[in-house]
């Protein structure tokens, strides 16, 4: 466990920090996209006076950026909702943008890079077409194979972006790929969905409380982009605590729902990870019940180790955490698709892979 995780577990340890700790903390928190969350923790625990002023400035700068991105995300959601509403297509907001529109605790600090949305599978082609007619375009280059990959095997269409704006829209019809080991009946998510609205007259569906957490868990379980995944683990803890405060029976509901939707294993990983790395403290009974969904012990331990290397490296830029990321990436594909499909997919990707071309073009001056 690194310094950031120890802080998330028990923020008051920051009282004893010296220069060395603060200098390790900032890069870790920045890398994990947890600057805004950290600022809130310092405030909630009355620790702001021990934080060096230049760090407070960095944290406030990050929060200003987050607020801006949040406004953009909600605006994008309104634009999409307007188009789909005219088509009579019900729309559900997921993840970050759902927390925003439902005014849940992550709203105070949560950054987001795209908005995740869901429509019913039967509506998704019509929804995509309607959005494309109104100026949303595929946000990158997708060749015939990529198109096939998304449409036949994944639970989303290729990401969209409006020509005049910067926020990416990921349009899903389920929480997990239909070919994966986790098969969720999306209709049941719609049954439990609640309605959220913002002051500007936007009304959309958001998943029910338990489903919101299960989506987070499935995402951790399958995500091939674990970098910055600690933020999602923190979301899990924040939402868990919030819903539990609202309803003392929430742990039970969550467990039952996970079992009903076949998400026991992802729930186990999410709970155990949030306990170890993000200070989640559920009841003993709940932990024991979730434990029943753990894999065979050596595998559970190995996975815990891998996740820790990836999400809580003792230092940034370690070779070991790069290897852990790689293994988790392969594993995420393993749980996403059956083996023959996986082999074909990786073969295609290997043939196509070129030298990395990512280069940031934005330049000050």
């Amino acid at each position: 466990m690194n310094l950031l995780n120890r802080f998330l577990n028990d923020p008051v340890i920051a009282r004893d920090w010296g220069v060395g700790e603060w200098n390790r903390f900032l890069p870790l928190a920045r890398n994990a996209r947890l600057l805004g969350r950290s600022l809130a923790l310092f405030e909630q625990h009355d620790l702001l006076d021990v934080v060096p002023q230049r760090l407070v400035d960095q944290l406030r700068g990050a929060l200003a950026q987050t607020r801006y991105v949040q406004v953009q995300a909600l605006r994008e959601l309104r634009q999409v909702a307007r188009v789909l509403d005219r088509e009579g297509i019900p729309l559900m907001a997921l993840k970050g943008v759902a927390y925003l529109v439902a005014d849940l605790p992550p709203r105070g600090w949560r950054n987001l890079s795209d908005i995740d949305l869901m429509v019913r599978e039967g509506d998704i082609s019509r929804a995509e077409l309607a959005l494309q007619r109104k100026g949303w375009q595929p946000s990158g280059e997708f060749d015939a194979y990529d198109q096939h990959y998304y449409r036949a095997w994944m639970h989303e269409v290729p990401p969209l972006k409006h020509v005049n704006r910067d926020t990416e829209v990921d349009l899903h019809h389920n929480l997990a790929p239909p070919v994966s080991r986790i098969r969720i009946d999306a209709a049941r998510l719609w049954d439990e969905a609640t309605t959220a609205s913002d002051p500007y007259g936007l009304t959309v569906k958001v998943p029910g409380p338990a489903d919101m957490l299960l989506h987070n868990a499935v995402h951790l379980y399958m995500n091939d982009e674990l970098r910055g995944g600690l933020r999602d683990v923190m979301d899990f803890r924040d939402l868990f605590e919030h819903f539990l405060q609202q309803d003392a029976g929430f742990e039970d509901q969550l467990l039952k729902r996970a079992e009903a939707l076949g998400c026991g294993r992802p729930l186990y990983y999410a709970v155990s990870t949030a306990q170890r790395l993000a200070g989640l403290r559920p009841s003993v009974d709940f932990v024991r019940a979730v434990q029943r969904h753990a894999p065979f012990a050596p595998i559970a331990h190995f996975m815990a180790w891998l996740i820790e290397q990836a999400l809580a490296p003792s230092r940034l830029g370690l070779r070991r955490s790069a290897v852990a990321h790689q293994l988790l990436f392969i594993r995420s594909h393993w749980v996403r698709m059956p083996l023959p499909m996986l082999l074909r997919h990786l073969w295609r990707k290997a043939l196509k892979s070129k030298a990395p071309t990512s280069s940031i073009q934005e330049t000050p001056g």
């Binding site: 900032l26 060096p52 230049r54 960095q58 940031i360 330049t363 001056g365």
Partner: protein, 294 residues
């Protein structure tokens, strides 16, 4: 190879710089001697490493990587361009994270504690003009970043090497043959670049804020005379807001800060081509009784 661990005071920011490249460390020392220390007991804003990639490129046409937070956000650069890469990378770090400040895309100089803001897009001549004003004794705040504390409305200095591009290099050498220029970088993404070193006074005074007093929108126009014209405040506001890195991002805060600057500063547009005349005319704003001016 020696491991250099330095701390650079870049205005309000403390920047850790780790490198094994002694030539780069030497260049850093040339530009920032009065702002560098090796005292490790300081809280850092950015912890940057300038290091070779872990592959064959260590030996064949060697390259350098800019590292921050254990990540490498940019493509590698040839080893000889380590300094411009560092400067550019640090600016990128600041521009993408320091939203505690309103960041004007402007050259800024000061006469005592009275600041002159020269906003402008690349090519407007703001760097060259800032360099020339600095060489005639104005305190350099920055050639590129006007860091405004929104709650106070003042500017924080961040004096750095001024990257002169292509023909600006000769223009400055002609203007002041004794100008303290660093090495020439013949091939960077911005063409040929040579940096002007900020003077020791500017570095030593880099924690002393300055109050916006003049807002001048420069425009270099070859062959033109020097024309300084008062600018309508509403128009000045519009152009100032346009020339910010994070105006939109900061919302109401930046609106109020920009309004305050425009209210408290005399606003002008300035077309120029001859550096000596231009500097005379702008300096005269700060010292109306002096020799220069009309």
């Amino acid at each position: 190879m020696t491991d250099h661990k330095l701390i650079l005071d870049a205005g309000p920011f403390k920047v850790g710089v780790r490198t094994v490249d002694s030539a780069f460390a030497k260049t850093l020392d040339f530009f920032y001697r009065d702002a560098l220390s090796s005292d490790a007991m300081q809280v850092l804003d950015y912890d940057i490493s300038i290091a070779p990639p872990r592959n064959l490129r260590r030996w064949i046409r060697p390259q350098m990587l800019f590292g921050i937070d254990g990540a490498v956000p940019f493509e590698p650069h040839p080893v000889e361009n380590a300094f411009p890469m560092f400067e550019w990378g640090l600016n990128w770090c600041i521009a993408t994270s320091a939203h505690r400040y309103l960041m004007l895309h402007a050259g800024t100089v000061a006469f005592g504690d009275r600041a002159m803001i020269l906003p402008g897009t690349p090519g407007s001549g703001k760097s060259t003009l800032s360099a020339a004003l600095h060489l005639r004794g104005a305190r350099l705040l920055s050639d590129e970043f006007g860091l405004v504390r929104p709650e106070k409305g003042d500017l924080l200095p961040m004096p750095r090497g001024i990257p002169l591009k292509n023909t600006s290099i000769e223009a400055i050498l002609e203007f002041d043959p004794a100008a303290a220029l660093g090495p020439t970088y013949p091939k960077t993404r911005k063409g040929r670049v040579r940096h002007l070193r900020p003077d020791a006074q500017s570095l030593l005074a880099q924690h002393e804020p300055a109050v916006p007093r003049w807002l001048v929108f420069p425009k270099y126009q070859a062959g033109s005379g020097e024309i300084l014209q008062p600018l309508d405040k509403a128009e000045a506001f519009r152009q100032l807001a346009f020339n910010c890195f994070n105006y939109q991002l900061m919302g109401e805060t930046s609106f109020r800060a920009a309004v305050q600057i425009v209210r408290s500063a005399d606003c002008y547009t300035f077309t120029f081509s001859r550096l000596d005349r231009a500097v005379e005319q702008l300096s005269a704003l700060a010292d109306p009784g002096g020799e220069g001016g009309r």
